[in-house]
Symmetry: C2
Amino acid sequence: MVDIATRVWNHKWRIDPIVRSLIDTDFYKLLMCQSIFRNKPDTQVTFSLINRSQNVPLAKLIDEGELREQLDHIRTLSLSRGESTWLRGNTFYGKRQMFRSDFMEWFENLRLPPYHLERKGDQYELTFEGKWHEVMLWEIPALAVLMELRGRSVLGKMEQFELQILYARAMTRVWEKVEALRDIPDLSIADFGTRRRHSFLWQDWCVQAMNEGLGPKFTGTSNCKIAMKRELEAIGTNAHELPMVYAALTKTDEDLFQAPYKVLEDWHEEHEGNLRIILPDTYGSQGFLDNAPDWLAGWTGIRIDSGDPATAAQQAIDWWKSRGEDPRDKRVIFSDGLDVAKIKELHAQFAGKTAISFGWGTLLTNDFRELVPGDALAPFSLVCKAVSANGVPTVKLSDNPNKAMGPKDEIERYKRVFSMGEQKSQEVIV
Amino acid sequence: MVDIATRVWNHKWRIDPIVRSLIDTDFYKLLMCQSIFRNKPDTQVTFSLINRSQNVPLAKLIDEGELREQLDHIRTLSLSRGESTWLRGNTFYGKRQMFRSDFMEWFENLRLPPYHLERKGDQYELTFEGKWHEVMLWEIPALAVLMELRGRSVLGKMEQFELQILYARAMTRVWEKVEALRDIPDLSIADFGTRRRHSFLWQDWCVQAMNEGLGPKFTGTSNCKIAMKRELEAIGTNAHELPMVYAALTKTDEDLFQAPYKVLEDWHEEHEGNLRIILPDTYGSQGFLDNAPDWLAGWTGIRIDSGDPATAAQQAIDWWKSRGEDPRDKRVIFSDGLDVAKIKELHAQFAGKTAISFGWGTLLTNDFRELVPGDALAPFSLVCKAVSANGVPTVKLSDNPNKAMGPKDEIERYKRVFSMGEQKSQEVIV
């Protein structure tokens, strides 16, 4: 029996929207948004798309009209009643009412601000300007839209059975990863793959596969919509945009030097326990830790998002010891360029020395490498970053110079202020 | 939108029927049925299930009640109007009205005769007695039911994502086979996998994958229901049951010796062209060919269903040459234990020497080897054969003694009558 009404309804859609909810985004964006809403409500920022993989000619692959339709659709979205209820009623990291009433009231009325889109050669220039706590919510949906439209440009040329086999192969690959991870005792791993996912449905499938295959070893997903839909934990804390914008807002070198700590001071007031996770690498991890105030050593953990992860984890362990803390009471969260082999290696190296967690991103939710001719579905390195705050360009140094960003002279100033020495380059794959 | 009516309808079914149509069977059964209906309408036969894989304890795996329900359901089936129209209106092997009106009228009123089922240790004794042209239609559905119920006994214990991955892996495997076959120039291959398929839906999927992936190199399917549904050619000619029953009906050694030729004499009257395919191995191919009347050398081809296929193909080529025929005008059809490597090997060996076709069975529609623990979904060797005709036991010698059947003393008599020498055993995998 064909349900004629459903069929007609499905064909009525002018487009197949990629992002269908304002909470189809990473949980840490909402935490940071609330923090900014309270602490920096008047800051004006510009976010900009940056395609680190210039070999992927996005403007050739993606039709500008289709891209605009998807972005326009996102601007029509508002928080649904059920989503609002979930945010208000849920327990996040063991805490009820994580989101304050004034923030929720604002969020319930939010529509995302306008975007600016222009083709520049084979790439798109896509920027968002406005209040920081509004503009910053564009990051994840913008990335998800571009990743998925690029995928659709390849999928659109495939036959029915080719498509079915493509997904059969991709599913088998994810499942084999899940099976390989099962053996790791005390594994703690979450999905961090929203921004560079193959598609929403695919991320949702990967999350379900992880959940069935790993049981309690799978701790949740960064994606709020999927966490809500699948009754899972929403996972995430904070990101580079906080120190980057805080730093850009400073006037003196001394204030600049203090900016990353000021971010965590604000965070300290708002959050406790497992939400107190240091992201030390924005302007070099070693310098950040060496000069950190003692109260930061009391925080629960450190997230490692650039540089050699084993080196960085050891650096964190050494730092805790030097501050009189027992690393076995601490947690290291790995979230950069993970795949099964790296996860196993890091687990073997650090299990017992400290608690470890993994935030698994692109190679969980977008490992379509080698599955189509020309590797046209391989993930690539696309980011959407705050590039200026109140008119001042932001700077990121990172522990990997390939992830650095900002104007050259400002980079030099930051390097000087943060006493950044020589850095080791690492290839950015995803 | 949930279609509530569909959902309720789906849950109303007391069982999930495995065979849902009388033409969910191999095309050659219908051709043979019509021939028997005309030439041997009064012959009484017994067909019996024979599990050559005694290591598969069917009675432990399959509940007797469920088996009865499936078999009882098949007894409720009758030819639908559309099925009848398709059989009457379709062109088979280039011929319109392949099925005569008297046969179609009988078929339209047919219900399958009763079965006899009894558990014997870990196996089932399943037999069918009655008129040959009625009983013989049990063979394929009975095998399909047992194969699929055995599969369900394994699938029933699996979780949702395990199931999805199982099929993802199996689909990937079939597709990789299809891709490997694509490169073979002038390939001609058909699906012969109804009897030992994993399930109807799976066979239907495999057929579609072959059709999309191989295009005109895929010549069709032996399954009439799928041929009808997918608008493909129905493929098949004749099988061992004809010479086996004809032989059992003879009174003298001389008549016995002539029986296999008498079968083809009757066939010769009814069919021409690509339907004139010799199946020479029932009582030994070499003897059959050596003693064959000259008119048989005028037939279009030979199907090779036991023994070493390369040896048998060369035997056929040599025989045609010895009878003054050009083997390049002839066709060899390989249908025994095929998989990609064997298909490629045989094609490489005989391309150009004669036309070749492949009838690909079990390892197309049931290659679930190594996909579950204990290899519990691996195909196994189940057959359903005519074991007696008018009270006399039938005998099959085959070119592989492991496929021989019949009472010991009768086998000895047949070997003497057909001057069968030493035979080389070959493992029967599927």
